[in-house]
Structures are given as C-alpha cells and as structure tokens.
C-alpha cells in the first residue's frame, strides 16, 4: 500500500461547520455535554482567575526564567498550585518547565528538524493510517493534511526515528495530540521525549516497548491496590472475571488522553507532569471509589460499561482530584513494583525503610539535581544518534 492510497482511505467529506467546545472539540449533536467550565462566569470568579494568573506569572518569570529558582525554594507551594490546576493560558509553558522538556529542547538545537526532514522511518505507513483517527472530533486534527494532522505526523515520525526500537505505537498519537494543542511541534516532541526517556520521572518508554512491559506492570500494581484499598470491589471484580486490562489499560497507555473527558485530562496532566505516574493510579482509584457502591452491585457486562462511562459527577476535577490525592500510594507502589520484579520475595517487613526512599527521590527531583543528571543522559543519547 503506497502513501497516496493510505491517505485516500481516509478521505474526509466537506468539514461540517459545527459548534465546538472551549477546547476545540466538536460538540455532539444533542449537545448537553458540559465542557467542565460553568457557563457565564461571575465577575467575582473572573477576578479570582485573573489573580491566579498573576500569581502564576510571577512564579514563572518572563519566559520561565524564575521557575527553577521558585521551585527550589517553594516546592510545596508549586505542588499545591499545580494540583489546583495550571491556568490554561500558561499551561503549555508550565508543562514544558515541569517536564524538563524545555531543557532538552535547548540542549538539542536542530535535532528535531533533522529527524523530521532527513530521516525515514519504518513506521511511516502505520502513522499515516492512524493520523485521521486521533482526536477525529477536534477541529485542529480534523482537516486532512491540515496543520494539526501534519504536526501530529511529524512528531510521531520523528519519535519513531529517535527511538527506532520503540518506533510508533498506537496511543502515542493521543499524547502527542494533547501536547500539540498547547505547544509547538518541536516543543511537543521534546516533551514526549522527556516523558518516554525519563527526564524528571521514571522513563515511560516501557509502555510502548515490545510486550508492553510497563503496561503489564502498572496493571498488576493497580489490580493489587484495588484489592487492598477496596477489598469488596476487588473481590467483586474477581467474581465477575473483570481484569484491569479490560478497563484500565488505556488509562496507562495514553495517560488518560484517550476517550476521557478533556477538562479532566488536562487537570490530570498538570499533576502527572509534576508528580509522575502515581497520579494515574490515584485517579483510577478515585474513579472506582466514587462509583464503588454502584460498581459492587453490577454484573459483568454492566460493570464493564460503567468502567468505561463514568457519570458526569465523577469527572468533575474539583471533586475527583481531592479524592485521588487522598490515596497515599507512593510507598505501596514502590513495594508492589519490587514484588513485581522479584515475585516471591517478602515485602511487609521492609516497608518502613522503603517508605523513606520515594520521599528522598521526590525531593531530589524537585531541587533539580536529578533533572540535570537525567537530562545529560538523554542529551548524550541524542548526540549518539547524530
């Protein structure tokens, strides 16, 4: 199948002009779906929002110049503010600062261009086949060969060249697509690199490597957390033969960018980029907790349906996120990770000493030393490829 035909497969009709929500998604015909933002903000709310943006601007400095300094001095303030949500107008910039991608970009001038223009990828056809199937209801990605689709293609192709072992994997497109709504193509590429290669947090490329090792690990950890924290529901899942792979694999593979309320995706991403994958577990647990009393009564089929279609009240970030943060899972995740890597070894006795480790690691990454050392590793990786 040649390139031209691949595109013909996905020939769109004339784009209908329809109403879009505040994020650019075309509203469903019978539009009663909220976009998460109450209509007609009061003057009071608008003033509060403006004060919040001013605070954020001060914290960031011009073009991000004060950011590192501020984070070093006030990591808890930053964490608290991020959990409340990054102002949408600053989101793209802040995401680049907290993910470490800005540093990658500065350390690798011209690399992205080379990857896009001069390299060829074995995944090109696969990427093309998926381009019009990524956020098909978003105006930016709807137009065939339009700027959205072209940027999406470029990023995915560039990454498939940058890491030829991983190449292109379905699911990456939704992450790249989300990023493209908030930053330029090159910025989005480096943020993808920062995540998958682990600039600040543990690398996530295992989500996409052969055998999906990290997906398997996360699902195993998640399953155990459910059993431990919600035993009744965990038992119900076992009885109904529901496996987390049936409902949660996409949560991890796409970090809640796939088939999930967009306003909530953004708030999850604010926290995810700063605090790491832990929040995906927490949000997953919070969704189950919120619907717990219904879920435990449902038989297999209805259960599956409910696990893919959470009620609107459950997806309000200001309700769900506080519930999510109430799950203290860092230590347990570490332990479950070790158990997963080394099945059979006991864990309960050693948990107190391990409890300190995530804390230290977290503090380190906040003060930036880990950021720098990991970034050097990533940039070396890039240099090797030239």
């Amino acid at each position: 199948m040649d390139k031209k035909k691949a595109f013909d497969d996905t020939e769109p009709g004339p784009a209908p002009s329809r109403a879009v929500d505040r994020f650019g998604f075309i509203k469903p015909e019978q539009s009663n779906s909220p976009d998460g933002i109450p209509k007609g903000k009061s003057i009071h709310e608008r003033e509060r929002e403006e004060r919040r943006i001013r605070k954020w601007r001060k914290m960031i400095g011009v073009g991000g110049s004060d950011w590192k300094h501020y984070v070093r001095r006030n990591p808890h303030v930053v964490k608290r503010r991020i959990r409340k949500g990054i102002p949408d107008c600053l989101r793209g910039l802040v995401w680049q600062l907290i993910s470490g991608s800005r540093d990658l970009l500065l350390m690798n001038p011209g690399v992205y261009e080379t990857l896009v223009i001069y390299e060829t990828s074995a995944s090109e056809l696969e990427i093309i086949r998926d381009i019009s199937r990524t956020f098909p209801s978003h105006i930016f990605f709807q137009q065939r060969h339009g700027p959205g689709q072209r940027s999406l293609y470029n990023i995915l192709k560039a990454y498939s060249v940058y890491d030829r072992d991983v190449g292109y994997v379905q699911g990456m497109g939704f992450i790249a697509g989300l990023l493209l709504l908030y930053m330029s193509e090159e910025d989005a590429f480096w943020l993808l690199v920062a995540l998958l290669k682990g600039a600040v947090h543990a690398p996530m490329e295992g989500l996409y490597q052969a055998g999906l090792p990290l997906v398997q690990q996360y699902l195993s950890q998640f399953e155990k957390l459910v059993i431990e924290l919600m035993p009744k529901l965990g038992q119900h899942f076992v009885e109904e033969m529901i496996n987390p792979s049936m409902y949660a694999s996409q949560w991890f593979i796409t970090v809640f960018t796939y088939s999930f309320p967009f306003h909530l995706t953004l708030r999850v991403w604010d926290v995810f980029l700063y605090e790491g994958i832990k929040v995906v577990f927490q949000v997953g647990l919070a969704l189950l907790r919120f619907c717990h009393d219904d879920l435990v009564k449902l038989p297999f089929e209805k259960l599956l349906h409910s696990l893919r279609n959470f009620p609107e009240e459950a997806t309000d970030p200001d309700v769900l996120l506080p519930l999510a943060f109430s799950f203290k899972v860092s230590t347990r995740l570490e332990e479950l990770h070790k158990e997963y890597q080394n099945p059979g070894a006991g864990t309960s006795e050693t948990s107190s000493s391990k409890r300190l480790q995530p804390l230290i690691a977290k503090t380190m990454s906040r003060v930036g030393s880990r950021v720098v050392s990991n970034l050097t590793a990533v940039s070396n990786l890039t240099a090797d490829r030239k």
């Binding site: 199948m1 009709g13 699911g171 996409y208 496996n243 593979i253």
Partner: protein, 203 residues
C-alpha cells in the same frame, strides 16, 4: 435482529482480530449501533460491546471484544481470544498486508485458541471495489483450506455485517445441538440478567 424476550438466551464471547485500520471497530459499531463513522478513533487496549441476535426461536447474546490492531498490542490479545466461542478475523480488501496479517491471526487461533472456536474471515471495505487488492477468490480458497467461513463485508454500506454475525450465531447453535455440547459455546457462567438490552456499548 432484536431479541425476543422470553426465549432462552445463550451468551457467546466473540473476539475481533485483525490489522490496524481493517475496520474491526467499524464492523462492531455497525452491528451493535447501526452506525458508521468515517474516522473511527483508533482502539487502544480493547473495547467491549454486546448485542443479541435472534435465530429462529433462540437468542444468542454476543459479548464482543474489539481489540487493538497494532502488532505491538499482540501481547494483550490472548486474554480476549481465550475462551472465545467465535472470532472474526478482519482484513481490508484494499490492503494485501492486512490479508497477510489476517492469516497470521488464523494461524495463532489454530495454534493457541480453543479448537471449537468458530472462526470467520471478513474481507472488509467491500464497498471500495475499485481499490480492491485482495481477490475474493484467493480469500475464499484460503478460508476453505483452513475451515473458516468467509464473507466480504462493508461496515460503511452495511453489506454482510449482520449476516456474518447471524451466520456465526447459527453455527454456534448448531454446534450446541451437535453431540459435543461444548462445541464453541460459552454457556451462561454468570447469573443471567433478566432484562435483555437490545444493544449496549462501552467504547
């Protein structure tokens, strides 16, 4: 297509396998909801649907697992085809590579799956005859040699979509009456739900 309330309902797990973009999700969506979208979002992980189908005076309730097509997701597939009463292996008649991939799925099902699983081969996008690259004869011969039943389908124009599911349902029920009662049939393992929803989905 709707189920008649009152008669016996047989649950049957069905899995769709096939290459990226062959039209697995579109086939299910056409069958379950009667809809077609030109730009069906890629399936990540797997999606579950159900639909009931009346065959004579019996009713089959399909529990359908629609899987992600990309090779990299292969490791997730066994969970969905294991214990399946039926599988539809889908390829795109305009894409020879997808036919090659379909054959690999058939081999895998024959090697790893339940020998009683009813396997259907669907040559999808049959509305795009001008772009055809996989001759129907070739697929038909392959299907005969491998004991599959074969249909060309179009999720877009609805050609043969209900028919392929109907044929599977018929064969499931025939298998049920055959001497081996286990043949490809997953009996209701869970307490039966009293209400039969005509369709539901959770993609």
């Amino acid at each position: 297509m709707a189920a008649n309330a009152g008669n016996k309902i047989r649950n049957a797990k069905l899995v769709l396998l096939g290459d990226v973009g062959a039209g697995k999700s579109s086939l299910v969506l056409r069958f379950v909801k009667g809809q077609f979208v030109e730009f069906q979002e890629s399936t990540i992980g797997a999606a579950f649907f159900s639909q009931t189908l009346a065959v004579n005076d019996e009713t089959v309730k399909f529990e359908i697992w629609d899987t992600a097509g990309q090779e990299r997701y292969h490791s997730l597939a066994p969970m969905y085809y294991r214990g399946a009463a039926a599988a539809i292996v889908v390829y795109d008649i305009t894409n020879p590579a997808s036919f090659t991939r379909a054959k690999k799925w058939v081999q895998e099902l024959q090697a790893q799956g339940n020998p009683n699983t009813i396997v259907a081969l669907a040559g999808n996008k049959a509305d795009m005859l001008d772009a055809r690259q996989v001759p129907a004869e070739e697929a038909k011969t392959y299907a005969q040699e491998n004991g599959l039943f074969f249909m060309e389908t179009s999720a877009k124009s609805a050609i043969n979509v209900n028919d392929i599911f109907y044929e599977i349902a018929k064969r499931l029920l025939q298998g049920q009456q055959a001497p081996s009662p286990q043949a490809g049939m997953v009996l209701n393992q869970r307490p039966n739900e009293r209400m039969v929803s005509s369709s539901s989905c959770c993609s």
